[in-house]
């Protein structure tokens, strides 16, 4: 009996690699829901969708290492439940463990009443991206429901493919909750300059369907938008259904302490983990970098616990969350946590633009448009608890 890692995405596969780096010698079993070899998700909405990358180009490099690392992979395995010391699969198999890592990620949300017809898509997996790419190649018009990161990245990719795009967004401005209104306006203006139309403060009432394929959507209020393809990008939910009724505490994710521990010998990493961040409190971050950061902390703490470690041997997941989005020729990078900020400072430096976000007297986030050096520098300042007034001077 060894460690069972549930989830074959970036977090789960990186945990496996980090456990071996720490010389964990017992068995590691990796349960993967998908049958494709582990791959990187960020390109799915960008260069993969635009046809500039193929499945072989987006494989995770450490997926190749897993067999060398003597990780027992079980692809195509769906988990159904958790008992005291075993994971139960949907075919009834029980996999006992000494230590468990929950890295089941998140699932793209559906709209209420979303039909399963040709032309209506979500984007989460490689299979989703392949299906969407195939149809976009033939499409002339597209409606993106939800102006989040996935929705706007897909919109930019569709524009690159010559498709006419309308984004339907519930809020007055897409992304405002995630990056604040100033950066949100920058990105929306960028899309408009590429011909994307926005229907904000709008909601989809229904789908126009003919011959088992989508023809468009109808908005609340009656307006109809024509669309050969519809992408529903209305956020993701942590994949925790299989844990209902188990000993693992759930509240919009697996509830963990600062060390990413959910229960004795049970840890969580990546999108699915809600943890006590030492600076930002209880958060969940669906970021690439967070998956890697979590994987290191979980591997260190779980191997320490299994080796009989004491309280002081555990490290906290204190890294400052960091993510990027790429749309057209623009890369927006953001470090920190924007929710709850109460002040911003906008810095325009020639063609480069940046934003500092503050809460009370401290800096809590920094964003840059094609300004990676700024964001990397400020991430360090955020970790150091830099005062707002000192950050403005630097």
């Amino acid at each position: 009996m060894g460690i069972v890692v549930v989830g074959g995405g970036l977090a789960g596969t990186t945990v496996c690699r980090e456990l071996r780096r720490r010389h964990y010698r017992d068995e590691i079993v990796l349960l993967e829901r998908e049958t494709a070899d582990p791959y990187d998700r960020p390109p799915l909405s960008k260069r993969f969708l635009q046809g500039r990358a193929e499945p072989a180009d987006i494989g995770l490099p450490h997926a190749r290492e897993l067999s060398e690392l003597a990780v027992r992979r079980l692809p195509g395995t769906t988990v159904a439940g958790l008992t005291g010391d075993a994971v139960v699969c949907d075919d009834g198999r029980a996999l006992p463990f000494n230590g468990l890592v929950i890295a089941t990620g998140s699932t793209a949300r559906r709209l209420p009443g979303q039909p399963d017809v040709r032309g209506v898509h979500r984007l989460r997996t490689l299979a989703d991206a392949l299906a969407l790419r195939r149809e976009l190649a033939e499409a002339r018009s597209m409606v993106v429901v939800g102006g989040g990161f996935i929705g706007l990245e897909v919109a930019a990719s569709a524009v690159a493919l010559g498709v006419d795009v309308t984004v339907v967004e519930r809020a007055a401005l897409p992304l405002a909750h995630a990056i604040g209104p100033v950066a949100a306006a920058w990105l929306t203006d960028l899309h408009r300059s590429h011909g994307v139309r926005f229907a904000c403060e709008s909601d989809v009432a229904g789908f126009d369907i003919a011959d088992h394929g989508v023809r468009g959507v109808e908005l609340v209020g009656g307006e109809r938008l024509r669309a050969d393809v519809v992408l529903v990008g209305v956020g993701a939910e942590p994949e925790t259904r299989w844990l209902a009724g188990s000993s693992v505490p759930l509240a919009d994710g697996v509830v963990c302490d600062a060390a990413l521990r959910a229960a004795p010998r049970i840890y969580s990493a990546g999108d699915v983990a809600r943890w006590d961040h030492p600076i930002f409190g209880s958060i969940r971050a669906e970021h690439w970098t967070t998956a890697v950061d979590h994987a290191r902390t979980v591997a260190a703490n779980l191997s320490a616990e299994l080796a009989g470690g004491e309280e002081g041997d555990f490290r906290e997941a204190a890294e400052i969350p960091y993510f990027w989005t790429e749309q057209y020729d623009v890369k927006l990078q953001l470090a920190g946590w924007v929710a709850g900020h109460d002040r911003v400072e906008v810095i325009e430096n020639g063609k480069r633009r940046a934003i500092l976000y503050g809460r009370g007297d401290v800096v809590v986030a920094a964003a840059g448009l094609n300004h990676p050096a700024f964001v990397a520098r400020q991430r360090k300042a955020i970790a150091a608890g830099t005062r707002w007034s000192d950050a403005l001077e630097s």
Binding site: R17, V292, R352, A373
Partner: protein
């Protein structure tokens, strides 16, 4: 320890600067990272390994 950044792969994510700003820097103009020093002291080796593993573009090549 020999460190190289493959310019064809580097896409300016800056994860390397975040992990080890003593070793890596990034240029806003080109959006490319570079190695700022030759010879990495032993105490930075672990940070360099972290940077290698944290590069979303797999652009960092480290040889012992």
């Amino acid at each position: 320890m020999k460190i190289r950044i493959d310019p064809a792969r580097c896409d300016g994510y800056a994860n390397c600067v975040i992990e080890a700003d003593e070793v890596f820097e990034i240029d806003d103009e080109s959006g490319q990272a570079s190695v700022r020093r030759t010879g990495v002291p032993a105490e930075l080796a672990e940070a360099v390994r972290r940077a290698e593993a944290s590069c979303p573009a797999q652009a960092i090549l480290v040889e012992d």
